[in-house]
């Protein structure tokens, strides 16, 4: 362990000598082996326009973190700083405990970046692209050959590996794009809106791949403006708008933050007015409100599953015949709308 520390220290010193701007220092997060990415107070402005304003986030080992926000919210700028592509105006980033900057090399080796666009040489084959980026990551010889073959199998492109990327379908290009990010077994996979412009079938394949990688323990930073993807994939979500993270947590924590509660949607026939009155008068657990529409009643409660029995009982007592009942939890769209006053846009 002492040898490892000495080697790491020597490498960090060497990187610090590489340039006057390489003076970021590890402030201590680096000793926390459970944290793969730590961003603190990131700020980036282009002239008068502030793209990112004080963003802080951490990603633990094995965690899938979603950065959810509309186009132009600051997602790509944030991950550009997280990957050492952009130098922040303020704040710092550590990856696997090491400070990152455009000239830092060790920290970058821990990252696998999958840009939003298909960032491949389309006039070269998938194999040639993988070998090129693999070599830049320091892979050589048999290890490189084996890793190229492995990731091609993972993304299902082994049988077309020698073909030029320009001959691939859109979905195949996206998969090849992801393969490059996985090549060197990164500690953190950064995916920047990987499903934009992808057909539903390929989109599902990509989401399944990300789920599988997360299940294998890979840390993932996933940016998207699709609420459904964030809900499906991410352990925690940071909601970003106008360069600021306005809320962060698990889906349930975020929903709880806005106090919207669950909705129990009841489709029924009979005296729905009496049903509504009984719901309001009876001891419905956590009742927040009742709304009556044609042939249906919507009951807002703090905990939907816990209140279902009381709702069914009230219907029976009111002589109403229930044709369907559904508990609807508030989604991140609701959270975003509540926090920003605007909807996520496709």
């Amino acid at each position: 362990m002492r040898e490892v520390d000495a080697a790491a220290r020597a490498e960090a010193e060497a990187e610090a000598e590489a340039g006057p701007d390489d003076s970021n220092t590890d402030t201590g997060t680096g000793t926390d082996t459970d944290v793969v990415l730590a961003c603190r107070g990131l700020r980036k402005a282009y002239g008068d326009r502030v793209a990112v304003d004080g963003v802080s986030l951490t990603i633990a080992r094995g965690e899938t973190y979603g950065l959810l926000g509309p186009n132009g919210a600051g997602k790509t700028t944030t991950i550009s700083m997280a990957c050492g592509l952009l130098r922040p105006d303020a704040g710092e980033v550590t990856v696997a405990g090491r400070p990152i900057s455009p000239t830092a090399t060790t920290a970058k080796a821990a990252i696998g970046l999958v840009p939003q666009d298909v960032a491949l040489y389309e006039d070269l084959s998938a194999v040639d692209n993988l070998r090129f980026f693999g070599r830049l990551q320091g892979l050589r010889g048999r290890e490189l050959t084996e890793r190229v073959a492995t990731v091609l199998e993972v993304v299902g492109l082994a049988d077309r590996a020698g073909d030029r990327v320009e001959t691939y379908s859109g979905g195949m290009k996206r998969r090849a794009n992801i393969a490059v990010g996985l090549l060197h077994r990164p500690q953190l996979l950064v995916l920047d809106e990987p499903t934009v412009g992808v057909d539903p079938q390929s989109r599902n394949a990509i989401l399944e791949s990300v789920e599988a990688l997360g299940a294998e323990g890979l840390s993932v930073l996933y940016t998207t403006h699709y609420m459904g993807e964030a809900e499906r994939l991410c352990d925690r979500v940071g909601i970003i708008d106008e360069g600021r993270i306005v809320a962060e947590g698990t889906r349930r924590q975020l929903v709880a933050q806005i106090g919207a509660g669950d909705r129990i949607e009841v489709a029924a026939t009979g005296d729905l007015a009496a049903f509504a009155t009984r719901l309001e008068g009876a001891a419905t657990p956590g009742l927040l409100g009742v709304e009556r529409r044609d042939g249906a009643v919507s009951v807002r409660v703090t905990d939907g599953p816990a209140a279902v029995a009381a709702v069914v009982g009230a219907a029976e007592r009111a002589g109403v015949a229930i044709s369907s009942i559904e508990v609807v939890e508030p989604d991140l769209e609701d959270v975003f709308l509540h926090l920003t006053g605007k909807a996520l846009r496709d």
């Binding site: 592509l85 080796a109 970046l113 840009p115 960032a119 040489y121």
Partner: protein
């Protein structure tokens, strides 16, 4: 990744870039086929593909022994592709030049020899054809030579008188005449247009490809490939060095191919191979440096393309790519040295037309390397800052 790793990464960037560019037909046309074709066409326009084709009339209206000896010497010095023809009178010479029968003519006016003894010596007249640049250049050179000889005679006469001697007779002055010295110099015995227009057109197109570095970087930036490369342990400066190295390799391949093709197909003698290689490498480095500087100050591929083309044509115009050697007035010749093209062309001319060696073109190579260094430093200073979002 240490220094060795960065060097390997830079080499890898260069290899992939060269491989991709060589697979690109438009680049092959731009860098090799285009210049060779243009060099061939222009060479043919200047006469045979292999040699100068100049026909110059010589008019002796003076009739003095010096003028007669001079005209006779010129006619006797005629050689393949360079012919001097005795013509009776300036009017006849002017008519033949206008008819295209002669490329140009030199006229020694009546009383020219006698005027040398006076305070206002006469002037040798040159009748230049509008579109016969080589013949016109030869005629001017001949006139310059005769004027120099006349001045030498005047100086000798003045020295004799100052020493207490009598004024020399015209016959004595004619005796002072230096040997007629009309000869072609170069590799073997030819001064080939292709030997000039080969490198000239090669340089023109090579500078037009200076935008390759910029276009490549900006294209990869737009398509986020550059992000992906820079997200690896590869530093921005390494990527820039790799792109520049690829431009150097492509430049060397381009000019070397043009050298080979013009030598084999057009009979162009470029001169000392060591000197040619030295100039080719130095020129390719200068072009790569300029290309990197263009990349550093351009924000879009379109801007880079426009800027590179503007620079290429400006350098070509100033540097003399479109005009054969000897035709440029002295002022423009000096002006041409403000551009890297000018230095490269003068260097290639030194090798092909003056039997120069690699040592003779060391100054030219040094200036080209200085261009590479200065423009490269501009790029090293500005480009990484822009890629890192600091500029």
């Amino acid at each position: 990744m240490g220094r060795g790793g960065q060097i390997r990464a830079g080499a890898l960037v260069a290899v992939v870039e060269v491989r991709r560019r060589l697979g690109n037909r438009s680049l092959l046309i731009q860098a090799i086929v285009g210049p060779v074709a243009l060099a061939a066409i222009i060479s043919l326009a200047f006469g045979s593909a292999g040699n100068v084709d100049a026909e110059v009339g010589v008019v002796d209206e003076d009739g003095s022994p010096l003028a007669a000896a001079f005209a006779r010497g010129l006619v006797e010095a005629s050689a393949d592709g360079l012919e001097f023809v005795a013509v009776d009178g300036a009017a006849e010479a002017r008519r033949r030049v206008e008819d295209g029968d002669l490329g140009a003519a030199v006229v020694v006016p009546a009383g020219y020899m006698a005027s040398l003894a006076g305070d206002r010596p006469g002037a040798v007249e040159v009748i230049a054809g509008d579109d016969r640049l080589v013949s016109s250049a030869v005629a001017r050179s001949v006139a310059d030579a005769l004027t120099a000889r006349a001045n030498a005679a005047r100086l000798a006469s003045a020295a004799t008188v100052a020493g207490g001697g009598a004024t020399p007779s015209p016959d004595d002055l004619a005796g002072l005449e230096l040997p007629i010295d009309i000869r072609t110099r170069g590799s073997g015995d030819e001064v080939s247009p292709a030997a000039y227009f080969g490198p000239s057109m090669g340089l023109l197109f090579l500078f037009m490809t200076a935008g390759i570095v910029a276009r490549s970087l900006l294209d990869e930036q737009r398509r986020r490939i550059l992000d992906r490369v820079l997200a690896t342990p590869t530093r921005p400066g390494t990527v820039l060095a790799g792109k520049c190295a690829s431009a150097v390799v492509l430049g060397v391949i381009s000019l070397s191919t043009i050298w080979l093709v013009t030598a084999l197909a057009l009979g162009a003698g470029w001169g000392d191979p060591a000197g040619v290689v030295l100039l080719i490498v130095a020129t390719a480095l200068a072009v790569a440096g300029i290309g990197a500087a263009v990349a550093a100050i351009s924000r879009t591929e379109q801007a880079a393309e426009s800027f590179a083309m503007a620079v290429a044509f400006l350098f070509a115009l100033v540097g003399g790519n479109f005009i054969p050697p000897g035709v440029l007035p002295e002022t423009l010749r000096r002006l041409s040295l403000l551009s890297p093209n000018g230095w490269a062309l003068h260097g290639f001319a030194e090798l092909s037309a003056a039997d120069g060696t690699a040592v003779d073109v060391l100054p030219h190579a040094a200036v080209l390397l200085a261009w590479a260094l200065v423009t490269g430093l501009v790029a090293v200073r500005l480009l990484p800052r822009r890629l890192e979002g600091r500029a």
